[in-house]
Amino acid sequence: MTRAIAIILIVTGALLLAIPVWLFPVCFHAGGGQHARMMPCFATGTITQWLGAATLLCALLVLFASSPKVKMKTGALLIAALAGASLFFIYLVVPGVCRAITMPCRVGTLPAALVTGGVQALAAAAGLAARKRW
């Protein structure tokens, strides 16, 4: 079970790293020019990548930490769940994304990141719920 959760977190972490730059790029990475660095989506995309990196670290901890280290695995899963859930706040409240509906960050980055964050939060929560079986 923990192995499956760790693999899901590796996938979501990698997606969070790739989404803002390559898969569904924010305005700056979608050819928006230097002034696009000042748009809120640039900061949001950067934060997303940091959360993706943190998720990957947590996934590796869950996968390779030895069996007695339950607290470490619990902590890693908690961080991964919070990272996934926090994406909703980051994209919908602060810093958010551009408000014009045709901007690349609103069209592609926002839905992709939210879906990935939701799956990550659910998977990590399932891992936390199944702790008794470790």
Binding site: G32, G33, H35, R99, A100, I101, T102, M103, P111, V115
Partner: protein, 406 residues
């Protein structure tokens, strides 16, 4: 009842839930299969229904029989109409006067396609701005008049259903302050949903403000609109009038109303044709997997069945109880699957219209039409195999069921 004689918490339902959680992996597998199947089927049905709903609404709102655009702009035009992606092109000068003199033409509505600046002098970058003549327009003007019960002033704008500005809010474009008069209802078509409609007088004022120091200048090609919508007189043939306009202006293309969304209609027809075999094949796969999982699942629960039988519960009551449990699990999974499909489509609806080029409108009424058949299908697919497996297991004596081996 517990051993101490007290009533078990949540009665029989709680008892069944505690029993179900004793085989969590198999429970999760059964629920996941139904969830994924409902997600896939719900997604396909809602997508097709959403496209059809958007087309029906959009065609009603456009109100034109013909559309005159410059030659060679089909791709940006499609992106502008479906996705609301700003595009700028102009017709040759004096075309309006030539078209209005033709027989069969009842009304003309020229429109100027502009885009907001990606700079601080515009509140929203890359917004599709449409300048229209309030004395002649028959696309948005009747729509606005129906709600506002008055004509628009030059300082007011209409915003589409996807533009995040409430009625009464200020809207700063090219250094000019407008007030949002009304938000149009969503149609699923980017041309209406992702745009701001401004009167010709407002566009002129905006152009004037844009030439002040420190602003991004806007130049409007007056006399050369981007598109001319044509409404024909009753009895006039669209093909004949289109041919005459084509001869008058060889640099322009005339598109008849049914042709405007021909590609989208073809896609809907393709989806409709593929949907029934796809639904049948998916249901067969899901039913096979559910049957296999039910056999594994209920074999894990045979001790509980043996115990219930030995405590005096009749076979029919056991079959009914576990059949209801399977139905509740199936209904819950199907409900969650369809909600998830609707949620995903809602999140990605701008991607569907703007990037993929499909008009799409997800309405709550569409959900209502799909829930009941989906729930009935899921409940039948899960409950029947469950009851059959339980019936088959109950052929054994209680002591055989209570034994762990065999």
């Amino acid at each position: 009842m517990t051993a101490g004689g007290e009533k078990a918490p949540f009665g029989r339902a709680g008892f069944l839930a505690r029993l179900a959680l004793r085989a969590p992996l198999k429970l999760a597998a059964s629920v996941t299969v139904m969830f994924v199947f409902s997600l896939a089927m719900g997604g396909v049905f809602l997508f097709k229904a959403g496209m059809a709903a958007a087309l029906a609404k959009a065609q009603g709102r456009l109100g034109a029989d013909l559309m005159v655009v410059p030659k060679g702009v089909e791709v940006p035009l499609h992106k502008g109409l479906v996705g609301g992606v700003p595009s700028a092109f102009s017709l040759p000068p004096h075309l309006e006067e030539k078209i209005s003199s033709l027989d069969g033409v009842a009304a003309l509505a020229p429109q100027y396609f502009l885009a907001s600046a990606q700079a601080s002098c515009c509140e929203k970058g890359n917004l599709f701005l449409v300048g229209f003549d309030p004395t002649r327009d028959f696309t948005v003007r009747p729509w606005a008049k129906e709600i506002l019960k008055r004509e628009l002033t030059d300082n007011e704008i209409l915003v589409g259903g996807a533009v995040m500005k409430a009625p009464g809010a200020p809207f700063f474009l090219y250094g000019h302050n407008f007030t949002v008069a009304m938000m149009l209802e969503k149609t699923g078509l980017g041309f209406f949903d992702n745009s701001a409609f401004i009167t010709i007088g407002g566009v002129a004022a905006m152009e004037g403000s844009s030439h002040q120091p420190g602003r991004v200048p806007l130049t409007v090609p007056w006399g050369r609109p981007s598109v001319i919508f044509v409404r024909l007189m009753p009895g006039a043939t669209a093909d004949r009038v289109a041919a005459r306009i084509g001869r008058l202006a060889p640099e322009a293309t005339v598109i008849a109303a049914p042709e405007i969304f021909r590609k989208s209609k073809e896609r809907i027809a393709l989806l409709s044709g593929a949907m029934v075999p796809f639904a049948l094949a998916s249901w067969l796969v899901a039913a096979t997997m559910v049957c296999a999982l039910q056999i594994l699942y209920w074999r894990e629960r045979r001790e509980a069945m043996g115990l219930l039988q030995s405590l005096g519960m009749s076979r029919s009551a056991i079959v009914l109880t576990f059949g209801v449990e399977a139905a509740v699990l199936a209904a819950g999974s199907a409900f969650a699957g369809i909600l998830a499909a609707a949620g995903l489509l809602h999140l990605f609806s701008p991607y569907i219209t703007i990037v993929s080029g499909y008009p799409f409108l997800l309405d709550s009424s569409l959900l209502g039409g799909i829930f009941l058949p989906a729930l009935m299908g899921a409940v039948t697919t899960c409950s029947l195999p469950a009851m059959l497996v339980v019936l088959a297991l109950l052929r054994h004596e209680p002591y055989e069921l209570l034994r762990r081996s065999g």
